[in-house]
């Protein structure tokens, strides 16, 4: 199996891929980026927390026109994962309004998004519809 690296550092690979957030130890605000301090309360203590992998689509768009090199169409969405909002692309679903809906139940999954000169695969995440 090829070496793998997550597309972003808040994606944890392994048997059960999931996202992790930096949670403010003072107010509980969650962030996915590297932090200098908390945007809500201003304090600087953070702990890593796992984000649930099941979620609900709170908003989506189907992008048909993008910057050069970005394949279209794709579905961009905001997914509510147990109270934490996540930005993601919806995958394994046709990119049309008949197959994507507000309130749709989805779960996190991963896919290879690229390979570098040393054969390392970049693994990205997306959300796919939950069956039934």
């Amino acid at each position: 199996m090829a070496n793998q690296i997550p597309l972003v550092d808040y994606l944890v690979l392994g048997d059960l891929p999931h996202l992790v957030a930096n949670e403010c130890t003072s107010c509980g605000a969650r962030f996915f980026d590297r932090r200098n301090a908390c945007a809500n309360c201003g304090l600087t203590g953070f702990a890593k927390v796992e984000i649930p992998t099941d979620g609900e689509v709170r908003a989506f768009t189907i992008v048909a026109f993008a910057a050069p090199g970005v394949p279209t169409p794709y579905v961009a969405a905001m997914v509510d994962c147990g109270g934490t909002s996540v930005r993601a692309t919806l995958i394994n679903v046709p990119a049309d309004p008949e197959h994507v809906s507000l309130g749709m139940q989805v779960r996190l999954t991963t896919q290879v998004v690229g390979t570098d000169d040393e054969g390392t695969e970049a693994i990205g995440f997306g959300f796919e519809p939950k069956e039934g």
Binding site: D9, A64, A67, V70, R87
Partner: protein, 401 residues
């Protein structure tokens, strides 16, 4: 007029659209000379200049203008604040007057964006080299399209869809009908970039950019400039009866940024800062939304206009869909919104937008809007929002004189 009130003395905008023969200084000069003439004043009367341009603030667009129109030595503040750049430039001039550093000031906004296409979203090249995490997310490759979207039509599409998820009633057709309204309104505006009426079918059948926003449902990138002369009440009292009669009172001027909300770093929250700005503005002006005769709000996309009906409290909370469906926001409705054609049809030369909307409202309050005049307009509100985010709201009132 109270000495510490602020007034628009003169105001002007260029035609929005394609101006291949004019550079940004030409466009800004046209708007500024227009505003000065409109106010019956000259560059020598200006004590401060707020110069707004998203693309040219760092190039000193204010001083470039002075080199053409008058190097009077007064302070220039070059400002860029996303799509709130024009409103911010206006406020800079107002703040200098409020602080007592000037009694009259100039603000202008200018942009050249005709044919600019998408303004955000990175190009994606073939993977090469060795994956190395970089940036605040430790990304090893571009994420636009892989982790949601960075393009504005897609971001604002989600903002409208999120409103629909919370309150129901939205659809592709509903959003297209909002665009139909604004494209109908612009047929009466000779300064609009696009003034051709579009049918609902044409709008829905046009090129899809980011569902549910088709091309005519997106703000029109174009060239343009707008400028305003603002004056203190004390100074205005010394000017002519005609200048006082045409002056428009700035009853409220507010700029806010987005306070932290749970999802605001995932999908920009354009709601809370707009609601906060509107609340403050109504309080400053001592009026409520029911007192407004017209509103120019930031319809950067059709999906955005809907949420701002609610954010500006033009309707009950959660009631924007019913409010629009009632016909209220058409020019013959109870709350005309974007009678200029809005950003979708009048156009959106970013730095100019936050002054051009003040020009539109001021022109109605002066009774000078010609065929698109909202009869008897006495109070109007302008709103801009720039992602990042910044929200500017102004409330304007007809002169009592």
């Amino acid at each position: 007029m109270a000495a510490d009130d602020l007034w628009v003395l003169g105001i002007s905008m260029t035609k929005f659209g394609k101006h291949p023969d004019k550079d940004m200084v030409d466009l800004a000069s046209e708007a500024v000379l227009g505003a000065l003439a409109d106010g019956g004043v000259t560059m020598a009367d200006m004590g401060v200049i707020g110069a707004g341009s998203l693309m040219a603030a760092s190039a000193g667009i204010g001083q470039q203008l002075q080199k053409q129109l008058g190097q009077t030595g007064v302070p220039v503040y070059n400002v860029a604040n996303a799509c709130a750049t024009g409103a911010t430039a206006l406020r800079v001039a107002m703040l200098a007057i409020k602080a007592g550093e000037a009694d009259m000031g100039l603000a202008f906004g200018v942009e050249k964006l005709a044919g600019a296409g998408l303004l955000t979203g990175g190009n994606r090249k073939d993977d090469s080299g060795v994956f190395t995490p970089s940036g605040r997310f430790g990304a090893v490759a571009p994420v636009d399209g892989r982790i949601g979207t960075e393009i504005m039509p897609g971001v604002f599409a989600q903002i409208g869809m999120e409103y629909g998820h919370r309150h129901g009633g939205t659809s592709f057709e509903l959003f297209a009908r909002i665009s139909e309204k604004n494209h109908a309104h612009s047929t009466l505006n000779p300064l609009a970039a696009y003034s051709k009426r579009m049918t609902l079918e044409e709008i829905m059948g046009d090129f899809m950019v980011a569902y549910p926003n088709t091309r005519p449902m997106c703000s029109a990138n174009c060239d343009g400039a707008a400028a305003a002369v603002v004056v203190s009440g004390a100074k205005l009292a010394t000017l002519s009866a005609e200048q006082r009669r045409r002056a428009v009172k700035i009853s409220a001027s507010v700029l806010t940024t987005d306070p932290w909300e749970e999802s605001c770093q995932i999908l920009p929250d354009v709601n809370t800062l707009t609601r906060n700005a509107a609340s403050l503005a109504y309080e400053q002006a001592g009026i409520g939304p029911d007192d407004l005769d017209l509103v120019e709000l930031h319809d950067c996309f059709a999906t955005a206009e809907l949420v701002h009906y609610d954010n500006l409290m033009l309707c009950d909370q959660g009631g924007a869909v019913d409010f629009f469906n009632s016909g209220a926001t058409w020019r013959d409705g109870s709350m005309p919104v974007n009678v200029s054609g809005g950003l979708e049809s009048k156009g959106h030369p970013i730095g100019a937008t936050g002054i051009a909307n003040v020009w539109e409202v001021a022109t109605h309050l002066r009774g000078e809007a010609g065929p698109r005049q909202i009869e008897g307009a006495k109070v109007g509100l302008t709103h801009v929002i720039g992602l990042g985010s910044a929200c500017g709201v102004h409330i304007l009132e007809k002169s009592a004189a």
